[in-house]
Symmetry: C2
């Protein structure tokens, strides 16, 4: 794709990471629009763009207008955008593409499956992007755009994007919560969560290399009811309930049979 011109709406974490990645990949960042002038100017300055604070000032001739705002604000921005000649995209995993139709005939989604934080460097090339578009020709353009910054471009529509989101909650939000519980338990022994880092990293590496099912270990996988009961007794009530439920689920998944009297 030959140096497309891109307008960014928003100046948050996603906008910052994407604008810089597209700039580095040779795109021209035309404008950065944010209600807060300082934020618009900060990002615009770092990618050689013009800072604007009003949607009415958006350059309607840009090839792409990428709306990088909170999920609940996307539809409102699309309604207030002037009608764009180019393609209007949002980057949300949970907002239907259709809300963009107010702003252009040619619309799509460019959803990066990653969590972006200010001040944390991230290799955008490895971030999987999930694209959708209002028509085949637009999809080609969106895929070309995504391919400028990422080696991992996939398609997702309103029926498959929720699957990605659920999977992300299961594989990231919940494990993060469990890490917090682990930190609590370790603190009771005077240990820092860091002592678990090599084990957590190796567990993740193994699961992605050989598959989570064959990598499963632990008391539940062995049907070790004695250890399961002992562990649950160590935990506060709600965490004990979670411990038992997840242990049951692992035993069910791996067809571990236990005596009636040992049931959780």
């Amino acid at each position: 794709m030959e140096a497309p011109g891109i307008v960014f709406i928003g100046s948050g974490n996603v906008a910052c990471h994407l604008a810089r990645a597209f700039k580095d990949a040779g795109a021209k960042i035309v404008q950065v629009c944010s209600r807060t002038a300082a934020n618009a100017e900060s990002l615009a300055g770092s990618v050689g763009a013009i800072a604007i604070t009003e949607l009415s000032e958006v350059d309607t001739s840009a090839d792409f207008c990428i709306i990088c705002v909170g999920d609940s604000a996307v539809a409102g921005v699309a309604e207030r955008l002037p009608h764009m000649d180019g393609i209007v995209l949002h980057t949300s995993g949970s907002v239907p593409m259709e809300v963009l139709k107010a702003a252009s005939e040619r619309v799509g989604v460019l959803y990066p499956l990653q969590t972006f934080s200010k001040g944390r460097a991230l290799d955008v090339a490895k971030v999987p992007f999930f694209t959708e578009a209002s028509e085949a020709e637009v999809l080609e353009s969106v895929d070309s755009l995504a391919s400028m910054v990422s080696c991992s471009v996939h398609h997702a529509d309103s029926s498959t994007r929720p699957l990605l989101h659920v999977a992300g909650v299961l594989a990231c939000n919940f494990p993060n919560y469990l890490l917090g519980c682990a930190a609590d338990v370790l603190a009771r022994g005077g240990y820092n969560l860091d002592v678990l880092r090599p084990l957590v990293q190796e567990t993740i590496d193994k699961a992605f290399t050989s598959g989570a099912d064959s990598a499963q270990t632990g008391p539940a996988r062995r049907g070790d009811m004695h250890t399961i009961a002992m562990h649950a007794s160590i935990l506060p009530p709600m965490q004990a309930e979670i411990y038992n439920m997840l242990s049951r689920a692992i035993m069910q998944r791996h067809n571990i049979i236990v005596n009636e009297q040992n049931k959780l």
Copy 2:
């Protein structure tokens, strides 16, 4: 510690990784004992040790005898070992040190908090080792031994080792199970688990860098009951129950208040 002589009992994953690490660190691996001659010879050959198949053949003058066998076999090995002049250790997180008293006055535990697999290289220097010993002077020797191969040596006794084990289950076994569930969900959209790897890695890195609580994101953290209900409806019954329970737990941990009518 000046080139201690070590006998290894066992030739499994833990014995292989530890024997090689100690050999590389300058220890003399005196013998490797395994009931299966081929296994004893294979490991002994790679660390310059003598292979033996009977506990009665163990060199009782070795500085350390490290029992690296399955948890349920440790006590039996200790009972059948000839009386050792040196220190007898086991490497299990769930076996009391006292079972070793049959084999020596000077006993201890050298518990590596890591999962070892055949054929997977592992940097033992980063593995946290948790030590315990029958007396202060022995503990010093065990700590010195552990420090030969690891930069992360800690103490744990029978009251704190279970905390490490519970934390490991919470932070590793359960997330591994949830990765399996995520893989199932992704497969329904035609996606491979690999699309989640960058997000999982970044989530883990963030949790260990800034703490799991401040790194928590997702529908439950936002109190987004609409998305939670939608996600639960996508999952099979037991996973939906887990999804709801973990969402409730996250909301409780972060004091997210929801309307009575929206309760899970």
